[in-house]
């Protein structure tokens, strides 16, 4: 069976029906197991439900979440249909919202934005759409939920579509936006087509998720980017003493045996002698395959260097402009030092200046606040101890992203998207 894999993210607050929507997708696509259902039935009863299953309970994982009726952290859910395998990054909205949404969006191909048909386009939905666009997710589905509470009104639906579309004009990088009127609670237009909204002739959510184009995250029509993770050089194994292979995961593009390649930041050039995998040699490899390259000439290559085609080279620089989402209580201040990890490369980074702050209400960049606080997103100017090899995030998600790590606590404190060399 060869199915492909689609990763999508949902975000929302406690009340907008996100957990119910996910529960409904799992339940209606028959991905809920009997013992899980029994668990939900018991928990629904304890909470005084009147016989109806509370599908939201399917997604509560931790003890504190069940006790407090909240969702603490990004959780991952898995389901499959005959057409595709799905991974949902389920992001809670009310606490650490930006941090959670950024985390969930960082690996997603599609973003499902929820709107409560009664309450309209709230800040939460706007923020989610904005973060999805910032994180480079090109496909967006706007789920206009709780249509049962507005009498399945086409007029209300169209009003909300118009309102959201007006807002979305300001988003850059979104390729397409699909709107679906639904009631997750009753299962309208999630997996089954709603008979109560015959005026809607677009796809239901699951159909759309089954059809949307994937592999955006490891695009193989982009220039080849192969960050070296690990050098295979067996010391003693008989018959392979001379073996020297460079291992990694192809982040984008394709590589062919015999092609000329360049190694950055050094700039050395040679040809690909062989593309090795455990299952045999390949003539050609494409993203996101993990593989091992053998090269014609002995170049001294180590972890953190990047192999590409000479005519499609990425940027190499020690000073960069980047958008940072700040993820910790301690403020990001100018001249702070962090460890930066980008592809397979680590270095020391100094933040020279915080240049602006993105206002997620207005989507405008406002004047330099001097510092970034928890859940803030802003543009910074960075310097690194060794050159980084990268593409702007908008053209390559894998080579344009980085994390910042606090040198003392070792915690991940920031998520970065490179805008340009400075």
């Amino acid at each position: 069976m060869t199915l492909d894999l689609l990763r999508f993210t949902t975000a929302g607050s406690v009340d907008d029906g996100k957990s119910t929507l996910i529960g409904r997708l799992l339940y209606d696509s028959k991905q809920v197991f009997e013992d899980q259902l029994e668990h939900v039935a018991q928990a629904s009863e304890r909470r005084g439900g009147e016989g109806a299953l509370d599908l939201a309970l399917l997604t509560d994982g931790l003890r504190a979440e069940r006790e407090q009726g909240i969702t603490i952290d990004v959780a991952y859910r898995y389901f499959a249909t005959a057409k595709r395998r799905f991974i949902i990054a389920d992001c809670p909205g009310h606490r650490q919202y930006t941090r959670n949404m950024v985390t969930g969006a960082s690996t997603a191909d599609v973003s499902v934005v929820l709107i409560d048909a009664r309450r309209g386009v709230l800040e939460q939905s706007k923020r989610h759409a904005f973060i999805s666009a910032l994180l480079g997710i090109p496909e967006m589905v706007v789920a206009i939920n709780k249509m049962d509470l507005v009498d399945y009104s086409q007029e209300r639906y169209e009003e909300l579509v118009a309102e959201f579309a007006g807002f979305a004009e300001k988003l850059t990088g979104v390729k397409s936006i699909a709107y679906i009127p639904m009631s997750a609670l009753n299962g309208d237009n999630v997996v089954e087509r709603s008979e109560l909204m015959s005026w809607y002739d677009g796809p239901v959510l699951l159909d759309l998720l089954e059809q949307v184009e994937v592999a955006y995250d490891h695009p193989n029509d982009k220039p080849a980017r192969f960050p070296v993770q690990w050098v295979i050089r067996p010391a003693s194994a008989a018959g392979v003493e001379d073996y020297r292979g460079y291992s990694g995961q192809l982040a984008s593009g394709a590589l062919k045996r015999g092609e000329e390649i360049m190694v950055l930041p050094g700039g050395g050039r040679t040809r690909i002698a062989a593309i090795d995998t455990y299952d045999g040699e390949l003539e050609e490899a494409m993203a996101p395959m993990s593989l091992t390259l053998r090269l014609q000439d002995e170049l001294d290559i180590s972890r953190g260097e990047l192999i590409c085609h000479p005519e499609e080279a990425p940027l190499v620089a020690r000073e960069l402009e980047a958008d940072i989402c700040w993820m910790t209580d301690e403020l990001l201040r100018p001249r702070s030092r962090y460890v930066i990890k980008q592809t397979s490369r680590s270095a020391v980074a100094v933040v020279d200046a915080v240049e602006d702050l993105l206002d997620v209400h207005t989507l405008e960049r406002v004047a330099a606040p001097q510092e970034l606080g928890l859940n803030d997103i802003g543009r910074v100017h960075l310097r690194t101890s060794t050159p980084l090899v990268f593409d702007p995030y908008t053209s390559n998600r894998r080579t344009g992203s980085f994390i910042l790590i606090d040198e003392t606590s070792n915690r991940t404190v920031g998520a970065g998207m490179i805008a340009a060399a400075a």
Binding site: G61, L62, I87, Q342
Partner: protein
């Protein structure tokens, strides 16, 4: 350049590539990793992924089995044969040794299990060998608490997991920085489901212990599950042994792992059975998860696999 000319990777190939990437990151960023190998299906897949990540060189880490002493003999026989085939080094950390040295206290009574004691043995072995990263075969689809687990999951110097205070995990960038005495657990199969594991075993034609296939065995029924009877098993009043055709969906301590009635005798039949099942593997076969709503969460916080 045409996109359509290059087909999508199948979901199994995509999951495989992601797991290999994770394993190489850990090998590169940690001083002393170890791979936890139980002889169960998930760790069997981990071994194949390690071959794919590091051959033709030897693995850059040893394998370790936390041995409760209550194993299925077929699994131990398989474990030793597989390790010998691979030519890799196996460390056996024994729960019996932890009991003998007074580090762990044996539970008593008919429901006694060494499941919980494994945590002591595991953490002691990690400290003794100075391991700073331990690969495990856990998957997020297995259990509620595991759905919240990171691929690379931090453990403090007491070996504890703090689910409310985890490091955010973005893109495929893993933060492997720790202080001395701390370690990480690494779960390359985080995004795999039970069905993926079986489809992969089928695709790779991996050998698995025979208890995964339908076989006749002397069992007894307790709490709605079929347990293997072995020498020394204490039965509770009203329980009796009988012969049944069963197979196992998980391989754990014999004292807390139940079998399922099944006639699936080949890999293909197992894949079909799993694709059609309506019960999760841990719900069907693991008494250790049934203790309370948050049984797994509590054990994980204390340092369990």
């Amino acid at each position: 350049m045409s996109v359509a000319a290059r087909p999508q990777l199948s979901h199994l190939r995509a999951l495989e590539s992601e797991a290999i990437h994770v394993m190489r990151e850990v090998a590169a960023e940690f001083e002393r990793p170890v791979l936890l190998f139980s002889g169960g299906k998930d760790s069997i897949v981990l071994l194949r992924l390690a071959e794919k990540a590091f051959r033709p060189a030897p693995f850059p880490f040893p394998l370790m089995h936390v041995d409760t002493g209550h194993n299925f003999p077929e699994v131990i026989e398989y474990r030793d044969r597989r390790v010998a085939e691979l030519g890799e080094r196996l460390i056996v950390a024994s729960v019996q040794d932890s009991i003998d040295s007074g580090r762990a206290v044996e539970e008593t009574g008919p429901r006694a299990s060494r499941n919980r004691l494994q945590t002591v043995t595991l953490l002691d072995a990690i400290a003794e060998h100075g391991f700073d990263a331990a690969f495990g075969g856990a998957r997020r689809d297995e259990e509620r608490a595991r759905a919240k687990e990171r691929i690379m999951s931090f453990r403090d110097d007491f070996g504890q997991w703090d689910p409310k205070n985890q490091r955010p995990e973005l893109w495929n960038l893993y933060n492997g920085r720790i202080a001395k005495g701390e370690h990480v657990r690494v779960f390359p199969l985080s995004n795999w489901t039970e069905l993926d594991v079986w489809e992969y075993i089928d695709q790779e034609q991996l050998e698995v212990p025979l208890i995964y296939f339908a076989h006749e065995r002397k069992v007894f029924k307790r709490d709605g599950m079929l347990y293997a009877w072995r020498e020394g098993t204490e039965l509770i009043e009203g329980e009796e042994t009988f012969d049944a055709t069963v197979r196992y969906r998980t391989v754990g301590d014999m004292s807390c792992t139940g079998g399922v009635q099944s006639s699936a005798a080949t890999l293909e039949e197992v894949v079909l059975e799993i694709a059609a099942t309506r019960i999760t593997e841990r719900g069907e076969t693991r008494a250790d998860d049934r203790v309370s709503e948050a049984a797994m969460e509590d054990r994980k916080k204390a340092g369990y696999f």
